[in-house]
C-alpha cells in the first residue's frame, strides 16, 4: 500500500508551527522524545522505544572462518529491516533507497568507528573467528529511525554474551551457559546517532524529528558521537547548504544528548544485570505496565485433563474402523503397477492401448498366482511370460541401466537385485 500523502494544509500547518517554535507533540526544538529500553529474556535482545518509534534488536553469534585479508579479526554484520508492521508503505523483502541509506549509516556509525574490539573475537587465527550479527527490526515507524536503531544496536551489543570457548591444540571447545558463564563483548565506546531536521532552507532546526516533521523537512543532518564527544560519523542529506556555525552548534547539542542517552543506557543495563543476578523477574513480560487498561495478565492456569483418556477412547470406539476391503494392485510391467478402479486419467494412449492387456493380465495373474500372492518366483515367471507375449514397455529395460556401471562387466540390469538373484537373472538378460 502506498503511504497516505500529507495534504498541503497539513504541511502548511506544520511549517507555520515550526516557524513559531512550536511542535505538534508539545516538545521544545532541542527535546528528545521519551526513550524507553527494555530487555528480553535472551542475552542481546532489547526493544528501544523512542516516542512511538519502536526497534527490536537481537545480537547473535556464530563461529566462521575469517576473511582472508583479516585473519585475526572477527566479523561484524548489521542488518536493519523495515518490517511492513512499521508502516504500510514498507514492502517485505524490498531493498528501498531508505533502507540502503540507513544500513550504510549504521555500519559507518558502529563498524567503522571501531567501537567493538574485533580482534578479541578471534578464536584461531586464520581459521575460526566469531561472526557477530546484529538484527534490527523496525516495529513501528514514527520518525527518526536511525537514532532508535543506533541506540538499539549498541544496547543489544552491550547486553549480549557469547559462549565461552577454549582452544587446546586444534580442538575448539564450545561451552554451554551451564558449563561456563558466557562472556560479554569488549566494547571500547558507544557511538550514538543524533538527527537534526532543517526547515526553510536551514532557518529552523529540530532535534529528533517525528514522522510528520520528517515529511516536511528540507534536509537532515545525522551526527554519530560517543560520550567523549568524539564524532564517529556525520552525514548531511537532502541537499541543503549548512553554515559552519550551524554544524558546530549541532555537534554541541549532540554532545549533550549523547551524554544523556549514554547515562540512560548504562542505567538500564545495570538494572537488568542486577535483577538477573538477584534472580528476580526480567524479560519483556515485566516491562509491560500492568495498570494499563489494554494489558491483561493471568498467572499459570492448571487445566483439568482427567477424563481426556476416556473421551479419546469414546471417539475412537464410535468411529468406524478402517475397512479391510483392499484394492488389488495390478502389475503392468516390472516397475509399473496400479491400484484403484476409479476413473482412469484422461491423458495418454498409454492406458488406452494397455487396457485390454491389463484385463488379460489380471485374469492371467489370477490363474497363475493365487490371488496375487507375492512370491518372488511366481511374479518373475509371470513377468517373463508377459514379456514374451506383449512387450509392454520396451524401454523399461533401459530404465534400469545404471550409469555408473563399469564397462565390460556383466550387465546387471536390475538395480534391485541382490547377489543371490544373479543366477536367476542371467537368462533374462540373455534373452535381450
Amino acid at each position: 500500500m502506498k503511504e497516505t500523502p500529507l495534504s498541503n494544509c497539513e504541511k502548511r500547518f506544520l511549517l507555520r508551527a515550526i516557524e513559531e517554535r512550536k511542535r505538534l507533540d508539545g516538545r521544545q526544538c532541542y527535546d528528545y522524545r521519551n526513550i524507553r529500553i527494555s530487555f528480553g529474556t535472551d542475552y542481546g535482545c532489547c526493544i528501544v522505544e523512542l516516542g512511538k518509534t519502536r526497534v527490536l534488536g537481537q545480537v547473535s553469534c556464530e563461529l566462521v572462518s575469517p576473511k582472508p585479508n583479516r585473519a585475526t579479526e572477527g566479523i561484524l554484520f548489521f542488518n536493519l529491516e523495515l518490517s511492513p508492521m512499521a508502516s504500510p508503505a514498507f514492502e517485505p523483502g524490498r531493498q528501498s533507497d531508505l533502507l540502503v541509506k540507513l544500513n550504510r549509516l549504521l555500519e559507518r556509525c558502529l563498524r567503522n568507528s571501531k567501537c567493538i574490539d574485533t580482534e578479541s573475537l578471534c578464536v584461531v587465527a586464520g581459521e575460526k573467528v566469531w561472526q557477530i550479527r546484529v538484527d534490527l527490526h523496525l516495529l513501528n515507524h514514527n520518525g527518526n529511525i536511525i537514532d532508535a536503531a543506533s541506540i538499539a544496536a549498541i544496547v543489544a551489543l552491550c547486553h549480549f554474551r557469547r559462549p565461552d570457548v577454549s582452544v587446546q591444540g586444534e580442538e575448539v571447545t564450545l561451552y554451554t551457559p551451564e558449563e561456563r558463564d558466557p562472556v560479554p563483548l569488549s566494547i571500547h565506546h558507544m557511538p550514538i546517532c543524533v538527527s537534526f531536521a532543517f526547515f526553510q532552507q536551514g532557518t529552523y532546526l529540530l532535534v529528533d524529528p517525528s514522522e510528520q516533521e520528517e515529511r516536511v523537512m528540507d534536509g537532515l543532518l545525522v551526527i554519530a558521537m560517543n560520550k567523549h564527544c568524539e564524532i564517529c560519523t556525520i552525514q548531511s542529506s537532502g541537499g541543503i547548504m549548512l553554515l559552519k556555525d550551524q554544524v558546530l552548534l549541532c555537534s554541541k547539542v549532540t554532545g549533550v544528548k549523547v551524554a544523556e542517552i549514554t547515562e540512560l543506557i548504562q542505567k538500564a543495563l545495570a538494572n537488568d544485570q542486577k535483577v538477573r543476578k538477584e534472580g528476580g523477574k526480567f524479560g519483556f513480560a515485566e516491562s509491560i505496565p500492568n495498570q494499563r487498561i489494554t494489558a491483561f495478565k493471568i498467572e499459570q492456569a492448571t487445566i483439568d485433563t482427567d477424563d481426556v483418556q476416556e473421551q479419546a477412547e469414546e471417539i475412537i470406539a464410535k468411529a468406524s474402523p478402517p475397512s479391510e476391503v483392499l484394492a488389488n494392485p495390478v502389475l503392468w510391467a516390472p516397475g509399473t503397477a496400479q491400484i484403484g478402479e476409479g476413473v482412469e486419467n484422461s491423458w495418454g494412449d498409454f492406458e488406452e492401448s494397455e487396457k485390454e492387456e491389463e484385463e488379460e493380465e489380471v485374469a492371467q495373474d489370477k490363474s497363475t498366482t493365487d490371488d496375487q500372492t507375492m512370491e518372488m518366483g511366481d511374479t518373475s515367471v509371470g513377468n517373463q511370460d508377459k514379456k514374451d507375449e506383449t512387450i509392454v514397455l520396451s524401454d523399461s529395460e533401459e530404465e534400469d541401466v545404471i550409469i555408473l556401471e563399469p564397462e565390460g562387466a556383466q550387465k546387471n540390469r536390475t538395480e534391485t537385485s541382490y547377489k543371490q538373484d544373479i543366477a536367476s537373472k542371467k537368462p533374462v538378460s540373455k534373452k535381450k
Binding site: 491400484i339 476413473v343 518373475s380 534391485t416 537385485s417
Partner: protein, 277 residues
C-alpha cells in the same frame, strides 16, 4: 451437455453441490474413493533412485541423487536428506515462473517435516565416516501435471523412489585419505518406516477423499494425514480452513490407514517385480 458445461462454468459451487447431494462427484467417483494410482519406479536412469506417480491426472516424478558432503558440525554422525517440491509452469497455468511460490514452499516444508517426523531413513544410516563424510540425498519432486492432491502424489513418489535407491559402497583409502567408490557393490537404503499420505477436502462439513484441482479450489479446507505401517500418525496436517471435530478426524484416520495398506501392497509388489527381473 452444453447446458451442463455452462452451468459448471457459471455456478461451479452449485454444480458441485448437486453431485454431492447424490453422494457422487462430477468425475463419477464416490466421496471416499481415490483416483487410479499408477507407479513406475526407476524412471530416470541418471538418478540414484526415481519414481513416477500418477494419481488420476496429477503426475509427480521424484528423482533422488546421492552426493558426498561433510556432516554437520553439531551432529557428526548424520547425513542429510534435502527434499524439494517443484511446481513448474508446465504443470498448471496457476503457477508463475520465477522463484518457488507459496504452495511449492509449503509442500517442500511438509515433505521435510514428514521425513523428520517419521524417521523414514535414519540420518545416521547416511553417515560414511564419522565427522568426515556422509551422504546427502537430494530428493527432487517435480510435478508434471497438476490436478489436485499434490501432497499424496509427492509422498508416494518419494517413498517409491527411496525404495529404488541404490548406494554404491564407499571405502576410505588409507594412504591418500580419499574416498573410493565401488560401483559394483550397491546396496539399497534401509527404510525404517513407510509413510503414506491421504488427503481430504472439507466441503460443507462433508469429507471428500483425493480432491482434484477443481475440487480443491471449491473446498473450504484440506486435511492431510500421513500414517506409517504400524498405524502411527506421522503428520496430521490441517492448514486452517473449515472446522473439524475429533470424531470426523477419526474417520479421516481410518480412511488413511486403509489407503496405507493399499499403497503398501502396491509398492511391495512393484519392488518384488523389480527384484525378480
Amino acid at each position: 451437455m452444453a447446458a451442463a458445461g455452462g452451468f459448471r462454468t457459471v455456478e461451479p459451487l452449485e454444480y458441485y453441490r448437486r453431485f454431492l447431494k447424490e453422494n457422487c462427484r462430477p468425475d463419477g467417483r464416490e466421496l471416499g474413493e481415490f483416483r487410479t494410482t499408477t507407479v513406475n519406479v526407476g524412471s530416470i536412469t541418471t538418478a540414484d533412485g526415481s519414481a513416477l506417480v500418477k494419481l488420476g491426472n496429477t503426475t509427480v516424478i521424484c528423482g533422488i541423487k546421492a552426493e558426498f558432503a561433510v556432516p554437520p558440525v553439531d551432529s557428526s554422525n548424520k547425513g542429510y536428506i534435502v527434499p524439494n517440491v517443484d511446481l513448474p509452469l508446465l504443470c498448471s497455468s496457476r503457477f508463475r515462473p520465477g522463484p518457488p511460490g507459496e504452495e511449492a514452499q509449503a509442500a517442500s516444508q511438509f515433505m521435510a517435516d514428514v521425513i523428520e517426523n517419521s524417521q523414514v531413513v535414519m540420518k545416521e544410516d547416511l553417515c560414511i565416516v564419522d565427522g568426515k563424510l556422509a551422504w546427502v540425498l537430494y530428493c527432487d519432486m517435480i510435478c508434471l501435471d497438476y490436478d489436485g492432491n499434490l501432497l499424496d502424489a509427492c509422498m508416494c513418489a518419494f517413498l517409491a523412489a527411496l525404495k529404488n535407491v541404490q548406494l554404491p559402497a564407499v571405502s576410505i583409502n588409507e594412504e591418500t585419505g580419499l574416498a573410493e567408490v565401488n560401483l559394483k557393490e550397491k546396496t539399497p537404503l534401509t527404510i525404517r518406516k513407510e509413510p503414506v499420505a491421504a488427503s481430504f477436502i472439507l466441503f460443507d462439513s462433508l469429507l471428500i477423499v483425493d480432491p482434484t484441482a477443481e475440487e480443491e479450489d471449491l473446498a473450504t479446507g484440506t486435511v492431510t494425514i500421513v500414517t506409517d505401517e504400524e498405524g502411527k500418525l506421522c503428520a496430521v496436517h490441517k492448514p486452517g480452513g473449515s472446522t473439524l471435530t475429533g470424531a470426523k478426524l477419526q474417520d479421516c484416520i481410518s480412511r488413511a490407514v486403509t489407503r496405507h495398506k493399499e499403497v503398501k501392497k502396491l509398492l511391495d509388489k512393484l519392488i518384488k517385480s523389480k527384484k525378480a527381473k
